[in-house]
Assembly symmetry: C2
Homo-oligomer: 339 residues x 2
């Protein structure tokens, strides 16, 4: 497997990536085939004065990548370079970028652009901008497809790049850039509550990996827990029965969905009697990404990750699919000796 980054001249950095051949088959199937001859190549856009160019060091792997690779939300354009929890080292900066320096360790999450003009952008919630540009399988302002962090390098507008705190191990930082901030963002609404909150987390691994409580699959325990929780963070990336979980919520309780990709069913009575809420939350803002990184560094927190090399990515996705990972894969891109 070959991953190339060839710097041809200053101000124009063609970045060549190994692109997995993700041929969609039979509607939902796909082939995840790393071509040993490293073709086709991908050429990154030329960096502008507001861009940051960085060499990718680590990149988290999660179910979103799998959904996208399989075209499960029917919007995948092939070839596709997944990866949206990217940690890297700055190699070049546009002339207008003042907040970073070469060799800084930086991160990029789910989005690499937004309009900058709408109410969401003006409120520092650019993740809800209708014109947000996703890190891969999106379309950049120049009309070209965006490609993600399973690659040797990236070119990203500085607004969508965060600094990784020094105290944070790089493989720890990666999952915070999507999974971490996705769990953190919806919980900010409970800030300032003057009572101790009881929470449940649905889904272990992925986003749920980064929080502290668990909902049991034991029926007796579930019954005993009825009306006991203030909120449930629901990270399950598959169809699941909400009627099993809504009764766990107390009056005013909230079930917050961050990951479900397919239609879900619920019984309205379960939310009407108790003024309960099913809400959604989408990743987090750049500001919130900085906050969760600082928080993790400040508290010295760690999460369990399994670091793998690029040549293990096919097996890693297969294991992720059968929940055979404790609890997160992180790709050691730079350590994969791909250049």
């Amino acid at each position: 497997m070959v991953l190339l980054m060839k710097k041809k001249k200053k101000g124009a950095v063609p970045v060549y990536l190994n692109v997995y051949d993700l041929t969609p088959m039979n509607g939902y199937a796909y082939s995840l085939l790393a071509r040993p001859w490293g073709l086709p190549f991908w050429r990154a856009r030329e960096p502008g004065p507001e861009d940051v160019v960085f060499k990718v060091l680590y990149c988290g792997m999660d179910h979103t990548d799998l959904h996208q690779m399989r075209n499960e939300i029917h919007s995948t354009n092939y070839p596709l370079v997944p990866g949206h929890e990217v940690v890297g080292e700055v190699v070049e900066l546009g002339s207008d970028v003042k907040k970073f320096r070469v060799k800084d360790i930086v991160g990029v999450g789910d989005i690499v652009g937004s309009c900058g003009e709408c109410l969401s952008c003006k409120s520092n919630e650019e993740q809800y901008c209708n014109n947000r540009i996703v890190t891969y399988n999106g379309t950049y302002k120049d009309g070209r497809p965006t490609q993600g962090g399973f690659s040797s390098a990236m070119v990203v507008h500085h607004k969508f790049v965060v600094r990784i705190p020094e105290k944070l191990a790089l493989e720890q930082a990666a999952p915070l850039l999507c999974a971490g901030v996705t769990a953190y963002s919806p919980l900010k609404q409970f800030k300032g509550s003057n009572k101790a909150l009881k929470a449940g987390i649905l889904g272990l691994g992925g986003v749920g990996h980064l929080d502290a409580f668990l909902v049991s699959s034991n029926t007796a325990e579930m019954e005993q827990a009825a009306s006991s929780l203030d909120y449930i963070l629901d990270t399950v990336p598959a169809v699941h029965p909400l009627q099993s979980y809504l009764p766990l919520l107390n009056v005013d309780g909230k079930l917050i969905l961050v990951g479900a990709p397919k239609p879900l069913q619920f019984d309205p009575v379960d939310i009407i009697l108790g003024k309960k809420t099913i809400s959604g939350s989408f990743i987090g803002s750049m500001e919130e990404t900085r906050e969760i990184l600082e928080f993790w560094a400040l508290k010295g927190l760690t999460s369990m990750v399994e670091v793998v090399k690029m040549d293990y990515s096919n097996q890693a996705f297969e294991r992720m699919e059968r929940n055979d990972v404790r609890y997160r894969f992180v790709l050691d891109v730079a350590g994969s000796n791909l250049e």
Copy 2:
């Protein structure tokens, strides 16, 4: 059809009601048959020192009555006396009841009891008390079934009785006691918002009857209205496709369900992208009931109602079922010459 109220002696008021014969047939069917000989009789409980006894004057009719009469939520005990928007005139007061006088015009809504001890009760949200007692088809503290307002008289604890403001026409007051407060209660959360809110109402008639905006069934209009609403009050008492309505909400928008009786489906993406909320709200508190009555009287508001006599109730329910009412039936109980 005979409706009797026989006062035998002070402090013990046996109230005899005509009870509709609501035999459940074939699972979901029912026969709504008013027996002309007025049998079986129903004897109300003896009033205690904290009770209010009142003669029923008007009573609203709505879909909840229909659901209950048909045993659609599988909890109906027959015989059943529906009616939970009851306006009446006080005929007797328990010795401890100081806030009412004989001849006062009063109202009773969906509940006639609660524990008084839990957090919901202590927060004046007794409608969410797990031990609330519903106005009919419930079990009172004495173990006997509760029966509703399609009857000559009722005995209700004073805490669950409200005064009807003098300026309010009685047939106008009735629908406010459930439908009105059900629409009002969830909207209180928007009080104090410093921007003009744009709202949609799903479901005309019933609860939706008592609010001001409508969602169109015209596809082009719906598309034009995408991301335009701050909230949707969803009063539809039947299965309906939330995926048609959630896109109408703006970022942070809320769809508030107050009436749906059966499981509903939604696409999580519709709430995740936009931090939207599907929430439930159950009727309203006694305090909110007083507020909506005062508000209606103060503003001189009226809603369109069709007043019918008791002997028209079968036809009225049949017409309600095919949405052939503009927009609410109110039973003129006292004017039905049933005594």
